[in-house]
Amino acid sequence: MGRKLLLEHINEPGINTFAVYRQKGGYRAVEKALKTMSPDDVVEEVKKSGLRGRGGAGFPTGMKWSFLAKPEGVPRYLVCNGDESEPGTFKDRYLMTHIPHALVEGMIVSSYALGANTSYIYVRGEMMPQIRILENAIAEAKAAGFLGNNILGTGYNLEIYVQPGGGAYICGEETALLESLEGKRGNPRIKPPFPAIAGLYGCPTVVNNVESIAATVPIINDGGEEYAKIGIERSTGTKLISASGNINKPGVYEIELGVPVEEFIYSDEYCGGIANGKKLKALVAGGSSVPILPANLITKTATGNPRLMTYESLADGGFQTGSMMGSGGFIVFDEDQCIVRNTWNFARFYHHESCGQCSPCREGTGWMEKVLHKIELGHGSMEDIDLLWDIQRKIEGNTICPLGDAAAWPVAAAIRHFRDEFEWHVLNPQESQTRNYGLAHYADPLEPVVQ
């Protein structure tokens, strides 16, 4: 049984209330930070912890904080990214629903570290119930003296507000989120300047994911070095994994980074194996944007080592034979699933969510959706498969924000690993409308890699 730092008390009745959360040791990190540490001490602990951004990019949180500009007389802002919209990811919803004070406490600690006196939690608009839960938790914390003016008599002032989004995946990109928070369309900004220099209202701003901010609580309580003892290499601490798809026990699991992928899929502690006694066909390990892997590259890397739930091991082999940790959106496909249909579905998603600002993404995502739909419906040609490859190549790296890459990678990986399933659709237009390609050879052991 792995250690739980964020979800340790998740099954405690009433843990969503201030009273129970506090009784279970909650808000100790606020007391410790504000009363015994300087803001720079807090930043230092987070640096020592090795915590990497839990939203998807995996950038070291402490380093991001250290980039924050601190000009005299200019307010600084902390904005929490709760726009969780990456298909396959639902950990932040879970955290905000069941243990909202973990986020509020993390917000206070993090705001203190950054010298922010007003902080915003941007939550996607569809999560109205979670917005109410957070507003209630903030009011409770304020009534108990953990928010407002002169918190715990330390002279530090902080207000936290919850901002609803309007339903747009792109607002999970930090500069689009800031645009949205300023009351505009969610068009990502050109960087530089980075938000650390000119973010919300042109002021220095840090944008962090919900889980990253919540993770600062155990880091302050136990110290960054203790946190860094969990995990392997540069994958320290615990991570929330959202497990979905064709598994026996979908849900949110807190793992110590380093758990073998095989154990995560098949053990009863986590996913509990593939549902209905089916076989594993494919895995999207970190949300829809990361490359999909066929069964024979999931539990072992191409070099035959066990694949682990770490940033490094999931990426082992690069995009040729590896994937990414991403946001921890772990989507499992059984042998009955059609990779072409799923790729079309994801392509439609990115087309729908493209903000339209950059031509390669605006035009390319729609084009890919159309071509994939054509193949899925049995009207495709072999040239269409090459065309898809060509389009995704022209999107990747050619857009202001990473949505273009996120749209290109799933299509590229599907063709790279499942090309014969696409060809089967082309060659069997009628049969492909009545049955799926199935597992085929995707679980067969790989040829040893020739160096």
Partner: protein, 174 residues
């Protein structure tokens, strides 16, 4: 371009205006435009959709140009620019939910309500549409109903029928 098929003149109540003022107080002076998204949610919760008149009055309240409201209202998918059913069912149609039967659920809703995606039933009670990932992939298929965005998880044909029956019994009144 904003194509307007229908308009609805509105007069914001004192109560609603008080809520607007509370939202505006969350931002620094002069940054009241930040209140736009939350205020549009409040307006939609009140009237069920955003008419041009409602958007123009929001613009006047926030001292911004009407176009600044239109461009936001047309960008974000949660805002309705035409009337919906009293119960607007929004079913997640993205990958993970489809792995566990979301397409079947959408076909069932279409048959059961007898209207296509985006249309309103003749009694004004229901409309439905597929929406993109709602961040509840482990509990799919899922649907939500505004303005409270109540969530219904692990849907089956039977649970959808039961939900529709319950809403029918509630009818158009509260």
């Amino acid at each position: 371009m904003l194509s307007v098929q229908e308009n609805l003149p509105v007069e914001f109540s004192e109560q609603l205006l008080a809520k607007f003022a509370e939202v505006v107080s969350r931002y620094p002076a002069g940054k009241q435009k930040s209140a736009l998204l939350p205020i549009l949610h409040l307006v939609q919760a009140e009237y069920g959709w955003l008419s041009t008149d409602a958007m123009d009055k929001v613009a006047a309240y926030l001292q911004i140009k009407p176009i600044e409201v239109y461009e936001v209202a047309t960008f974000y998918t949660m805002y309705f620019l035409k009337p919906q059913g009293k119960y607007a069912l929004e079913v997640c149609r993205t990958g993970p939910c489809c792995l566990v039967g979301a397409e079947r659920i959408m076909r069932h809703i279409e048959q059961r309500l007898g209207v296509k995606e985006g249309e309103v039933t003749p009694d004004g009670l229901f409309s439905w549409r597929g929406v993109e990932c709602l961040a509840a992939c482990g509990f799919g298929p899922v649907l939500q109903i505004g303005p409270e965005y109540t969530f219904y998880e692990n849907l089956t044909e039977e649970s959808v029928d039961a939900l529709i029956d319950t809403l029918k019994n509630k009818g158009l009144g509260q």
